[in-house]
Point group: D2
């Protein structure tokens, strides 16, 4: 029934990828991988599924960027986000919870973006980095689907990049928000396809 | 069950409003009010419920800003958003569908923000306008909950404003995305309360 | 003597243009062309010199964007810029002074950016427009050299675009600020060359 | 003669400070203090003059932010700025040259902004930090006057803050660009006054 009105009004057209993609890995850090901290749900599966995606991007010489939440240890940059979700303020530079998971650790030359808000583009140098590398589209993986991934996808599209969400490579602590946000993104902001379809499009399935 | 993990991890704290609020009315335009175009669902109710909210803000001397989608008639600014949702490209300056509904028409001195993306803050002068008016928090009404409202709320919070969503004054073309996005916003980005609670907080219930 | 320290510290390297340039015409409006209003100096010459540049860009199918200052007639968007320079507030939508000069009038499909600040990138959709058109570098003409041109050049470079200032196509109301800002831009932000050199680089001198 | 046209056209009005100022210290790092590296001119005097300003701001409980250029050691974030000025790329996290000078070292709770471009506002969380602290105006000190100070002042004003440049607390490696940029800023973007006048305005001369 929900789909009916979206179909009738012409939402959800496919936009396809560009010729010069980058890979964005959103907030795949230890604290979001750990169900005892801020993780849970299908995040572990998304991390596992992102390994071949990262390998594919690297072997294709795509620019790769990683984002993570990092707050100052002295509380200098507390903001409304950590007022809503106080546990975020513990993600300081020295806390292993804010490090990217080992399975997807950044390599030399990859950008690591520290942020204090949901979107990897907001208050960071990510947009200018993508421009200076000639990128025209982004593939997004990460967590959580309903949080930092959604916010980053909306911004990526708003900045003028074509966006593809790697459906099996995004995860969330709870199933219902995961599904609801995949729906919103597919209808309005991005193509949502499995990694296998991305690999196939670039002739290397 | 979804709520369980959010509770356990400490999401959804109340942040309260500030001392110098502004009202943001997001995309309450004819085209989104009309179920035959891009509207439907509970958007008509949200427009009706926003009349006393707008009256309250004006009589409280809050800054008031309205946003609307506007694309160039010659196609000069087509972007990935209207690639996903082609109907948006018809919202040009001369199209009555992109005008704010009469019931909530902008008054002299209120800001009208034209945009080509979901968030009213993105690629517009809204943030600088709020800063120059000394605003510390925003109350958000508008449509759709799962689209331009959600994107604007995430940006408002990311810019450092405390955000309150007027729950009865936001609407969407379909019920499930409306509910899912109210949940996300309340857990992570904003307080979500009815207009009556906002009026009460400012001593004028 | 000034140049000595810049040379010794390694400023002013040439960066060259990219493969997918755009042309930015900054604030070439009637009010800045008129010495009785906000114009004077060598602005008239810069407008004349920009005609072949604009023709070259159009015949090369470069994206072309024009910027202009536009304030709301009801004073809704007054800001610190028009507090410093009150004459700017008169540049409202219905004022011919804020229109692009006839000699360089925007053609269909070219972007026209309205702004209330010096930089054409600030609080506007220009960056996202350049990204969605795959641009990697910009050629800048306009006025004034020490004002909106300088601010736009700093932002263009900061966004990650390689920047070339068309030296004979920028003008200012007074000679000393014109020269001082050409110096700053050449040392730190952009290549500064005459239009003839730009045409030659693209094989069409 | 230059002043004539500016006077006649109504530039350079005083805007005054707001009620909730912050202090911005721009790029006062060892590498810009050292004439053998990127320093020289009157930068040493500006650092000395900024000590009482910083003391004043702290004892007034103003928010204080420091900016510095920081590039990744692996070259991941090279950009057009370090293409124009290659020496900047050496300012990496482990290089003492990019540390704030001891005389003005950041205290706990003060924001330290890392950036790869001239303006402290560009691609950083500075704007959102100022908003969340309720700031309505900024006092700017730092170096260089013709580079990162100028760019930060233009952005601060564009964001809607009233801006005061502490004239004796900004410095540059060469005298002519220092003077030219003080002129531009005073005419168009900021009040330019000595620290003593700032202290007097807040009743503590």
């Amino acid at each position: 029934m929900t789909d009916d009105v979206y179909d009738r009004q012409g939402f959800g057209k496919e936009t396809g990828m560009g010729a010069r993609p980058a890979l964005l890995l959103i907030d795949f850090v230890n604290g979001f991988a750990d169900p005892e901290m801020l993780g849970g749900g299908n995040i572990a599966q998304a991390i596992a599924a992102s390994r071949p995606l990262l390998h594919f991007a690297r072997s294709s010489n795509w620019p790769v960027a990683h984002s993570r939440i990092t707050f100052a240890a002295d509380g200098a940059d507390k903001n409304p986000f950590c007022a809503k979700v106080p546990a975020l303020a513990a993600l300081t530079a020295s806390n292993p919870a804010r490090q990217v998971v080992d399975a997807l650790a950044p390599a030399a030359g990859e950008l690591v973006v520290d942020k204090t808000v949901p979107s990897a583009f907001f208050g960071t140098a990510l947009t200018q980095w993508l421009i200076s590398r000639g990128v025209d589209s982004v593939v997004v993986a990460g967590c959580t689907t309903s949080g930092c991934v959604r916010a980053s996808v909306v911004d990526a599209m708003s900045w003028g990049f074509r966006v593809t969400v790697a459906k099996d490579c995004v995860g969330d602590r709870a199933k219902a928000p995961h599904e609801a946000n995949l729906f919103d993104m597919e209808q309005k902001y991005a193509d949502v396809v499995p990694f296998s379809a991305i690999a196939k499009q670039f002739g290397r399935a």
